[in-house]
C-alpha cells in the first residue's frame, strides 16, 4: 500500500521533471536526479579530500622540518599550524567522510539498490546539496578572513573557542561554527530522505531482510545522526551566542560551564564515528560477498550487531572526557559501556571474516580495498581498547596514540572505504571500466605508506608525545624522536604522490576506458540490472525491477550459475540471460 502511494508520488514527480527539462549548467545546479546529486556530493567531497590532504602535507612537513619553509605553502606559524590541524580534522570528518560515504554513495545507491526511480523527496535532496555547498564556501573562506582560520581543534572546546580574546580569530571561529551548522542542516535533510525512501519506495517483493546491507547501513547511520545531532546544534547556538552576543553559557565567571560543551559535543561526536563507519561496512559487505562468491555469513546477526552498535554508541561519549574534570566515578560507568560496545563491533568483524570461509575469492581491486579495510580497521578497533580502559587512558589521553588510533579507524572508513566503493561502483556510475593494473599499483602505493605513517605515530604516543604541538623541539624529552616524525612525513608524501595514479586511472577510464556492461562483477543486487550508467529514472517505467530473494544468493546449490540476481523470477523455466 505504501509502495503504491510512493509509486504515485514518483509518477507525479516525474511528470514535473519532464515538464521543465533543464539544460546546460542549470541541469547540474538544479537537478533533482539522485544520481546527479550523488555526483555533486562525490566530487565536492573528493575536492575537499584534496584540500584536507594538502593541509596534512603542510603540517607534517612542519613537524618533520620545523621552521623550514614548506614547498607550495611557505612558513607555518603557530597560529597557522593550529588553523591547519583544525581545518584538516573538520574537513576530513564533516566534508569528506560524510558527504562521500553517506551522501554520495547513499544517494546514488539507495534508490538503485532498492529498485526505486529516485528519492522520495527529490527537491529536498537538491536543497540538501545546495546547503552543503554553502557550508563548503563558508568553511573555505573562513581560512582567509582577518585573523585567520579557527585554530581551536575540531572539537572546539570553550572557553578557547568561545572568546576571541583567547583564540585570536574573531571571524574565523564564528565562520567555522556556521559552516558546521550548515553542514548538519544539509545532512538532516539528506538523512530524512534516506530513511523515508528505504521505508516506502522499495521494489515489489523486497522484504526487510531482502534489503542489501549498504542501504541498511546508510539508513541506520542516518537515524543515529538525526538522534545525536540535536544536542550539538543546541550547543553550537549557545557557543555562537557566547562568541558574538556576549552570553556566558560556557563562561565560568558568569555561571556557565565549559564542560557542558564537551558533553554536548561528544554526545554527537561518538555516534558520529559509527555514522561514518556503518556505510563503509555496508560497502565492504557488498564487495566481499560479490568477490568471495559467498552468501553473507549471518545476515540477521550483522543487522542486529549494527543496531546494537547504534544504540550503545549513545552511552559511551564520556570516554573522551575521562580526565576532563568530570566526577571520577563516572569514568567507571563509561569504561563499562565502552568495553561493551567492543562486542558488537568485534562480532561485525567476525561476520566479515567468516564470510570468506568457503568462498571463491577473487582479488580484484575493489576486493583488495575491502579486505584492506578489514585488516586495517582491526588495528584501529584493537587500539581503541587501550583508550577505553580508563586507567590506561590517563597516560594515553591526548597523545599521538589517540591520533594514530583514530586514523586507523577513520582512514579505513573514509579513504579505504571510499576507494572500495568508488572502484566497485565506478562501472555503474560512469559506464567505463577502470584499469586493474593501475588500480593495484594505487592500492599498494596507498596501503603500505599509510601503515608507515601511523605505526610510527603509535610509538610517539607511547613515548608520551602530546598532540597539537607545532614544534616538538621545545620539549626536551621529545627532541630525540625526530627521526620517527621524519619517517611519518616522508611516508605521507609518498602516499599523496601515489594518488596521482588514481586520478590518472579515473581520467583515462573516463576518456577511453572499455565500456562497462550492465553487471561486470556478476553481482546480485538491483543496481546491476540497470544500464551503466543508469538513465534518469533508473529503469524504464514499465520495467521496474521486482524482487524474489535476498541479495547474497551466491553459489546456491539449486542453481547452475554461481550467482542469482534478486530480480530473476524463481520459475524453473530457463531465464533468457541472467543479467537481462
Amino acid at each position: 500500500m505504501a509502495q503504491a502511494s510512493a509509486a504515485t508520488a514518483h509518477a507525479h514527480e516525474h511528470g514535473s521533471h519532464e515538464h521543465k527539462e533543464l539544460h546546460g549548467i542549470l541541469k547540474y545546479l538544479w537537478s533533482t536526479d539522485h544520481k546527479v546529486i550523488a555526483m555533486q556530493y562525490l566530487f565536492t567531497g573528493m575536492f575537499m579530500a584534496m584540500v584536507g590532504g594538502f593541509m596534512a602535507y603542510v603540517f607534517r612537513m612542519q613537524l618533520a622540518f620545523p621552521g623550514k619553509s614548506v614547498p607550495l605553502f611557505g612558513y607555518v606559524s603557530p597560529g597557522r599550524y593550529n588553523a591547519l590541524i583544525t581545518a584538516h580534522g573538520s574537513i576530513m570528518i564533516f566534508w569528506v567522510a560524510m558527504p562521500v560515504l553517506i551522501a554520495a554513495f547513499g544517494n546514488y545507491l539507495i534508490p538503485l539498490m532498492i529498485g526505486a526511480d529516485d528519492m522520495v523527496f527529490p527537491r529536498l535532496n537538491r536543497l540538501s546539496y545546495q546547503v552543503f555547498l554553502l557550508s563548503v564556501i563558508v568553511l573555505l573562506s573562513s581560512l582567509f578572513v582577518k585573523g585567520g582560520g579557527f585554530g581551536g581543534g575540531w572539537p572546539a572546546y570553550p572557553p578557547l573557542s568561545a572568546n576571541a580574546k583567547y583564540n585570536l580569530t574573531p571571524l574565523g571561529s564564528s565562520m567555522w561554527l556556521v559552516a558546521v551548522a550548515l553542514e548538519f542542516a544539509a545532512f538532516l535533510m539528506g538523512g530524512i530522505n534516506f530513511i523515508t525512501t528505504l521505508m516506502n519506495a522499495r521494489a515489489p517483493g523486497m522484504k526487510a531482510y531482502d534489503i542489501p546491507m549498504m542501504p541498511w547501513m546508510v539508513v541506520i547511520a542516518s537515524i543515529m545522526f538525526m538522534l545525536s545531532v540535536g544536542p550539538l546544534i543546541a550547543g553550537a547556538i549557545m557557543l555562537f551566542f557566547d562568541q558574538n552576543l556576549g552570553t556566558g553559557f560556557y563562561d565560568p565567571s558568569r555561571g556557565g560551564d565549559p564542560i557542558l560543551w564537551q558533553h554536548l559535543f561528544w554526545f554527537f561526536g561518538h555516534p558520529e564515528v559509527y555514522v561514518v563507519l556503518l556505510p563503509a561496512v555496508g560497502t565492504v559487505l557488498e564487495i566481499i560477498t560479490t568477490f568471495a562468491r559467498k552468501k553473507l555469513f549471518g545476515y540477521k546477526t550483522l543487522l542486529y550487531t549494527a543496531a546494537a552498535t547504534a544504540v550503545l554508541s549513545f552511552f559511551v561519549w564520556a570516554h573522551h572526557q575521562f580526565i576532563a574534570g568530570i566526577d571520577p566515578r563516572m569514568a567507571n560507568i563509561f569504561t563499562v559501556t565502552t568495553m561493551i560496545i567492543s562486542i558488537p563491533i568485534a562480532e561485525m568483524c567476525f561476520v566479515i571474516i567468516a564470510t570468506l570461509y568457503g568462498g571463491d575469492i577473487r582479488l580484484s581491486t575493489p576486493m583488495l580495498w575491502a579486505l584492506a579495510f578489514m585488516a586495517e580497521f582491526l588495528i584501529g578497533g584493537c587500539t581503541g581498547i587501550f583508550l577505553g580502559a580508563s586507567g590506561a587512558d590517563i597516560y594515553l589521553h591526548e597523545t599521538y596514540f589517540v591520533l594514530a588510533h583514530f586514523h586507523y579507524t577513520f582512514f579505513p572508513i573514509a579513504i579505504i572505504g571510499t576507494f572500495a566503493a568508488f572502484t566497485y561502483w565506478f562501472p555503474k556510475m560512469f559506464g567505463k571500466m577502470l584499469n586493474e593494473t593501475l588500480g593495484k599499483i594505487h592500492f599498494w602505493g596507498t596501503i603500505i605508506p599509510f601503515n608507515l605513517i601511523f605505526i610510527p605515530l603509535f610509538i610517539l604516543g607511547l613515548d608520551g608525545q602530546q598532540r597539537r604541538i607545532y614544534d616538538f623541539q621545545n620539549f626536551p624529552e621529545l627532541r630525540h624522536l625526530q627521526p620517527i616524525r621524519i619517517l611519518a612525513t616522508i611516508s605521507l608524501v609518498v602516499m599523496l604522490l601515489f594518488q596521482f595514479v588514481f586520478f590518472f586511472n579515473v581520467i583515462r577510464a573516463w576518456l577511453k576506458g572499455p565500456k562497462a556492461p550492465k553487471n561486470p562483477w556478476q553481482s546480485n543486487t538491483l543496481e546491476w540490472t540497470a544500464e551503466s550508467p543508469p538513465p534518469h529514472g533508473n529503469w524504464p517505467p514499465d520495467r521496474m525491477p521486482k524482487v524474489y530473494r535476498g541479495p547474497y544468493e551466491y553459489n546456491h546449490p539449486d542453481r547452475e550459475d554461481d550467482y542469482w540476481p534478486q530480480n530473476i523470477p524463481p520459475e524453473p523455466e530457463p531465464a533468457p540471460s541472467p543479467a537481462r
Binding site: G79, Y166, S253, D257, I361, N474, Y554
Partner: protein, 225 residues
C-alpha cells in the same frame, strides 16, 4: 612495559604500565588470531580452476558457533580489562592518600604557575614560593596538587609520572602524585590552548630531601623571613 621508552618516576606509573601491558596481551592475542584467520581464509579459499564456493547462511548451528564462542571469549576479556581499568583508575584518580605537601598548579596562556608551601610545609602562608614553569618537589613524598586555570582549558601532564589532568577555569581539581625518581622531567600542556600551546612547557624537578631543603631556603621570599 613502557619503561624502555620513558622512565617510570611516580608511585602509580607502574600500575598504569601494568594495565597497558594487560590490555596489550589480551587485545594482541585477539588481533593476531583475527588477522591470522583472515589471511589464512583469503589464501585457503582463493579462486582457482575447478574450485566452487560453498552455500552457508551463517545461521546453521555448526557454523554459528564460530561467531558465538569468540563472542563469549571477547566478553570475558572485556570483563578482565574492566576490572584492571577500574582498579588502576581507583588508585590514581579516586583515592587520595594523605599528603606530605600540597602545591597549587595554575595554567594560563601559556605558562604554568606553581605555588609551593615553603619551609613551613603549609600552603597559603607568607613563606610560599611562587615559580613559573618549574616545580620543585621532594622524592618519595606524597603531593596533593590543586589544579586551576585562569583562562582556557589546559592539561597538566607529566609523562614520566603517567599523570594527566585537565585544568578547568572556574574549578579547583585535586589530585596527587608521589615521585619515586630524582631528575628533571617535562611538564606538558596536553590540551590545545591557543597559539602558544606549543611552547607551554614546564619542568618537574624531583630532588633529594637535602637538595630540596637547600632550594627552599634559597628561594623563600625575603618578606617571609
Amino acid at each position: 612495559m613502557l619503561h624502555g621508552l620513558i622512565p617510570e618516576a611516580s608511585s602509580f606509573a607502574g600500575n598504569i604500565d601494568w594495565l597497558i601491558f594487560l590490555v596489550l596481551v589480551l587485545v594482541g592475542f585477539w588481533f593476531i588470531v583475527a588477522e591470522g584467520v583472515f589471511f589464512w581464509l583469503i589464501f585457503r579459499f582463493r579462486s582457482r580452476p575447478g574450485h566452487k564456493g560453498q552455500y552457508l547462511t551463517g545461521h546453521e548451528k555448526h557454523v554459528e558457533r564460530w561467531i558465538k564462542i569468540p563472542h563469549a571469549l571477547v566478553l570475558i576479556c572485556d570483563v578482565i580489562i574492566i576490572i584492571g581499568a577500574v582498579h588502576v583508575w581507583y588508585i590514581v584518580k579516586m583515592h587520595l592518600p594523605p599528603a606530605d605537601y600540597t602545591v597549587r598548579v595554575t595554567g594560563q596562556q601559556w605558562d604554568w604557575v606553581f605555588q609551593e608551601p615553603g619551609a613551613d610545609g603549609k600552603l597559603d602562608t607568607k613563606d610560599d614560593i611562587y615559580t613559573t614553569d618549574s616545580l620543585h618537589v621532594e622524592v618519595n613524598k606524597t603531593y596533593h596538587f590543586l589544579l586551576e586555570s585562569r583562562d582556557v582549558i589546559h592539561d597538566f601532564s607529566v609523562p614520566v609520572f603517567r599523570l594527566k589532568q585537565d585544568a578547568i577555569p572556574g574549578r579547583t581539581i585535586t589530585g596527587w602524585f608521589r615521585p619515586t625518581e630524582t631528575g628533571t622531567f617535562d611538564i606538558q600542556c596536553a590540551k590545545l590552548c591557543g597559539i602558544g600551546h606549543g611552547v607551554m612547557v614546564g619542568s618537574m624537578v624531583v630532588e633529594t630531601p637535602a637538595q630540596h631543603a637547600a632550594w627552599v631556603a634559597k628561594n623563600t621570599p625575603t618578606s617571609a623571613q
